[in-house]
């Protein structure tokens, strides 16, 4: 005797009782959600601090350098006095470059976070042996 088999398509709705993503964990203040958020916050804050540190170490030391070595102000590369070349011209593309790199990194961090929370392998990622 052949058994009757019911033929169905793929489920249209995610199975009830199991969250479709880990976003619930992040929202509901579970220990797991806490770990996710902390890691994203740490990544983004670390990135921000690195960009600001670079800003302080470049533009930020200009007054100190010229304070300690005022003779530098007389240098005229390309016929423009050095401070005017640095602050009037080069500072602007430099700031733009920092901003552009920051946005690329920040979006990459967010994508990684989204993959982690929302990933296709959300079901089996719970088991420790897959990691």
């Amino acid at each position: 005797m052949t058994e009757r088999v019911r033929v169905t398509g793929p489920p249209r709705h995610p199975a009830a009782g199991r969250p479709a993503s880990r976003l619930g964990d992040v929202h509901e203040q579970t220990a797991l959600g806490d770990v996710y958020l902390r890691s994203l916050l740490r990544e983004q804050l670390g990135l921000a601090v690195r960009v600001l540190g670079l800003l302080a170490a470049t533009l930020g030391i200009v007054p100190l350098v010229f304070h300690l070595a005022p003779g530098l102000a007389d240098a005229q590369p390309l016929g423009i006095p050095l401070p005017w070349l640095l602050l009037g011209v080069l500072a602007h593309p430099f700031l733009l470059l920092l901003a552009w790199r920051y946005v690329r990194r920040a979006e990459r961090n967010e994508r990684a976070f989204a993959d982690l929370v929302h990933g296709d392998n959300a079901d089996n990622a719970d088991s420790p042996e897959t990691s």
Binding site: S21, L23, V26, H27, Q29, G33, D34, L37, L40, L41, Q44, L45, L47, A48, V51, L52, L55, L59, G60, V62, P63, L64, F66, H67, P70, A73, D74, Q76, P81, L82, P83, W84, L86, L87, G88, V89, A91, H92, P93, L95, L96, L98, A99, W100, Y102, V103, A106, E107, E110, R111, F113, A114, V117, H118
Partner: protein, 503 residues
Amino acid sequence: MNTAAVPGLVAVVLVTLVTLAIGTWGLRFSRTTSDFFVASRTVRPALNASAIGGEYLSAASFLGIAGLLLVGGADMLWYPVGWTAGYLVLLVLVAAPLRRSGAYTLPDFAEARLGSRAVRAACSLLVVGIGWLYLIPQFEGAGLTLRTAIGAPEWAGPVVVGGVVLANVTSGGMRSVTFVQAFQYWLKLTALLVPVAVLLVVWWGDGRPHARAGADGWSVPVAGDGGIGLYTTYSLIAALFLGTMGLPHVVVRFYTNPDGRAARRTTVVVLALLGLFYLWPPVYAALGRVYAGRLVAEGRSDVLVLELPRLMLDGLGGDLLTGLVTAGAFAAFLSTSSGLAIAVSGVLTQDVTTRLVGEQRGGVAAFRLAAVVAVVIPLVGALLVRNVGVAQSVGLAFAVAASTFCPLLVLGIWWRRLTDAGALAGLAAGGLGAGGAAIATLAGYSPGGWAGALLGQPAAWSVPLAVLVMVGVSLATAGREPAHARRFLVRLHTPEVLGAGPG
């Protein structure tokens, strides 16, 4: 009035008419309260960045910097650099989270984050105070420009600018102002770029004359000598780098982005547009060193950009270029004043006039009433108080913003343990410290030496003070940490693709 006034008069009338026309055109899109406050959050990065550039480049940028550079030399280059770098700091610390907070205004953000009406009231007070501190020099600059360009009496400029701003803001709110300001960025850039290109050709034709360089410290990027000069320079840097994120008209713009990602991308385009603009004022100053020594001697360096074309070029060419720079300067007053009026009106609407007008008359009526208050009070202030000094007043507004909203935003976005008591104490410390120094300086109290430097450039001590007080009091009142703080931070930092954003 004589024939020399014609190009300036034509320029002012044209800019006014075009501004009103674009504002009226934008009116077709303004229907709801959300349109009025934040253009319904649908402004794309390219348009929004132009609008931010148009709004941000004020009279101080268009006229003030060139004059400051002409007199003060290279240490004044920190103004344009700081105004641009402020956007980088804003980008990395607050841009995307602030947009994701879903609040309309700074007080909204503070209340949502800390759950406290008292913090909200303090923030509203600060927004209005900083906005008015920034509006007064715009109106003053307008008076200066109209007097220089067409010989109008000093009250005419503030009244014309105030009237046009009021017409635009009350008719279309943020939606129509966005179009107006985007147009005004490109107008300002053109008005700076075309004359400087022509004048450089003239200078080349004159055999490239050079002013004597370096002898008087004109090329040293530190203000004055010794420790005081170094302190003044670093304090200015702190105020400008950190103050941008706390300016009410800057922050309100971020709520008009569709999402956090767009907020970041908008900021990068803004940095490009500001850099492109700020390349040119130093060229005006360098040409002014050669051709406009008379203005320095007469103490009228503020009008360098307006007068340089006629000093270098006779006849029709000089007249046309004068008309163009006058148009740019007038656009600068209109756009910055509009942005500030919008920001102050938004806060006044929510906290004051909605109650006066009554809910049933609707938010738009309350917004219009608030706009009238937001424009008329600083207008009267500008007419009563004369000669505060455009750049000085703007610089103090930056110092107050850096000492109040900057710590509040940065700690509110990145530090879970901020409490309402900590925020209030920090706002009070920073606001009273920097604000007190600002008022003392504006009132003309300036002791020499270190005391004068500490009062004239308060940011280097008032910002750390505000941060320390905010953190210290928050830790001491740890029990008051809002219950929803974690959830709120999740929302601020979660990318929109995950659907965790507001609404």
